[in-house]
Symmetry: C2
Subunit: 396 residues, 2 copies
């Protein structure tokens, strides 16, 4: 059924990601040949389609236990499906490409809830995660075979369902002689450790803590929704770190947890930010922004120092994600990691803020080719599994 797409030498694939910041849809059109370690990727077009404030608020409302109602979730699942489909149409037009030329879509969906720690319900142990953005709608509107919902299968195999991008980091960035760490600063920040010449069994990865999630939400809140993030890190550069608050932030129990570990809005969402703002009463907003930016830097650097550097000499750090554009984050990372060469993923033809979208295009390619897409030492899964759900397009 999918044979025709599998047999092509080169496939045009759209990757779609809606990150935990809930700011918009990252879409990337890539040309992929091969699979597994022979994967070659070329980014043809990428962009972010921002959500309107109304949709962003609906997403946040649906994500929160106190306000996330079943009827709103039901509607939002379809609404995001429609918007993801529109994002595919948009990115195809931007690349001057017909929809019928595109072979495959990989859609991460939007995570409205993530509960990776085992809980017992009626005697049955479960872990759970909920991504929405109905892929049947994407496949029907575009006519393109769509692979979606990658996390639940890894969790079914005992993993935390995150980080999944680490397998893609392994495919794209691992090097026979240079030891590298891939760092993505999205809503949440995560690292993939790629020792020189390592096999896929040796790759470890983890979420390090918040990336932009708290920063973006704070800027959104104090500007009354006018700004969605601290452009270029200007405000963070202006402020001063409040050491008392930073110390408190660094006491978060997630930071002490050994890997594999993953986090999200459940740990570093509105409830947490509210507590930070309460703690920061009397502090200038810019200082609070700088403090949160420094918190992101410190959680990344601490993770490296605690869980990586004792075991591996790291030559290069390859950074990606929206946080790359924040000059404060960038500068402080460089100051804090003087022994590592810091490169952006653009260096490898993966635009920094499109990396996660590109990653889900590649994970879709792996599933199409019957390849397993998780890394047990990254997610904690018992074994490697084929990720995602396949929704046939029109031409199939």
């Amino acid at each position: 059924m999918l044979q025709a797409i599998r047999q092509k030498k080169e496939r045009l694939i759209v990757g779609l990601m809606s990150g935990s910041s809930a700011d918009g849809i990252d879409a990337a059109l890539v040309k992929v040949s091969g699979y597994g370690k022979s994967t070659v990727v070329q980014t043809i077009a990428c962009d972010t389609l921002n959500y309107s404030s109304k949709i962003r608020e609906l997403i946040l409302k649906c994500s929160h236990p106190e306000t996330g109602r079943v009827d709103d979730i039901c509607r939002l699942n379809s609404l995001l499906g429609e918007l993801f489909a529109k994002a595919v149409v948009y990115i195809a037009e931007k690349a001057n490409c017909e929809l019928s030329q595109i072979d495959l879509i990989g859609s991460h969906g939007h995570t409205i809830h993530h509960l990776p720690l085992p809980e017992k319900i009626s005697g049955v142990e479960v872990t759970s995660t909920l991504q929405i953005g109905e892929p049947s709608i994407i496949a029907e509107r575009t006519g393109i075979t769509t692979i979606a919902d990658f996390r639940p299968r890894d969790m079914a195999a005992g993993g935390e369902g995150a980080p999944l991008v680490s397998y893609v980091d392994y495919l794209l960035f691992s090097h026979p002689e240079r030891s590298r760490v891939a760092l993505n600063i999205g809503g949440i920040a995560n690292i993939t450790v790629l020792p020189a010449g390592a096999s896929e069994e040796e790759i470890i990865a983890m979420d390090t803590g918040p990336g932009n999630i708290l920063l973006d939400q704070l800027v959104y809140t104090i500007t009354g929704g006018k700004s969605r993030y601290d452009l270029d890190g200007e405000r963070a550069n202006r402020g001063k770190v409040n050491q008392r608050i930073l110390k408190k932030l660094l006491e978060h129990p997630f930071l002490r947890k050994p890997p594999p570990k993953s986090t999200g809005r459940e740990d570093f969402g509105e409830t947490y930010l509210h507590w930070v703002i309460e703690m920061g009463r009397g502090t200038a907003w810019d200082d609070l922004i700088t403090t949160l930016a420094e918190f992101t830097v410190r959680t990344i650097v601490n993770s490296l120092e605690k869980f990586v550097f004792p075991y591996h000499h790291i030559d290069e750090l390859i950074i990606s994600g929206g946080g790359v554009k924040n000059r404060y984050l960038r500068r402080r990372l460089e100051e804090s990691l003087p022994r590592q060469k810091i490169l952006t993923s653009d260096h490898f033809s993966i635009p920094g803020d499109a990396k996660e979208a590109v990653a889900f295009a590649i994970l879709a390619n792996e599933t199409l080719m019957g390849q397993k897409g998780n890394l047990p030492r990254a997610t904690g899964a018992r074994q490697r599994v084929i990720l995602g759900k396949i929704i046939p397009g029109k031409s199939v």
Copy 2:
């Protein structure tokens, strides 16, 4: 990737259904050969695995807008996935069959919300439905390729996502010379009209209104959860119809709506039952049960008289679903439809209360074979589409 399963002459398929009554999981193991009109089905084993009261209450809680929270939905999606997987293991054991011999699972999931009427959100028109019971968990626990979530694709094509079983009725029950109606009395009751020799484009189908959903919930409520339904329709047989209440019930706007149409707990759920109970203050419980049973009969018969009999002479009625065992329903249907021969689906080797589970095994077979599984005149879809999401098993 799925080629090996497609090429088999006979496939062992498990169908799973969790109906709107939320009473349990219907599981059926069937042997299927062919596809489309050449489909031949043999039921090997079937059973219903009742939910515990705690799980049933969690399902109902998650289904209701006022109480359906995102964290509970997230957990329940995994919990039901685990229970569906256990149901597969159970039915395989019952049939003395190794899991590795089973080729495919078709899982409907449990519908916790269904909003088939178009709504505009932020300028985007959406219809939506939400089935849960994570199929990635089913595929991982059993190692069997699983096809799930059939409704959203039909809705993406403009349909109401229901009734889907009508295509299966067409495959199994349509006859060159006899005009038939297939009637399933599950939580909701639905009919498929199969004129003699009709092509798939001519098949109409519709939900007629409540099946057992109100009856079961009333019995559950008045017995404090001790009974889940009116065994054999004993209490309905004992009571008397309250004509005043029946008249009020028959004024429900859904009943006047022309087909295609579908309904669910949103129309005939707890809020509605609460209103019925309020109206019935001072009425004996048995009389209220009889009145609700008569309501089910009348909505079925009225649908036939209004939407079917004016256009087709119907020879036979093939009934299935849990309602078949309710002697009151059965007797009153026979009295009300003297010109039709009433048969149960058992007559066609489809056990009455397993019919929906069998249907989703067959729909999974159709998707596997690249066949479209909806009927536009049944669901209102603009076109026929391939239904469901494919989750690869271990052996793939």
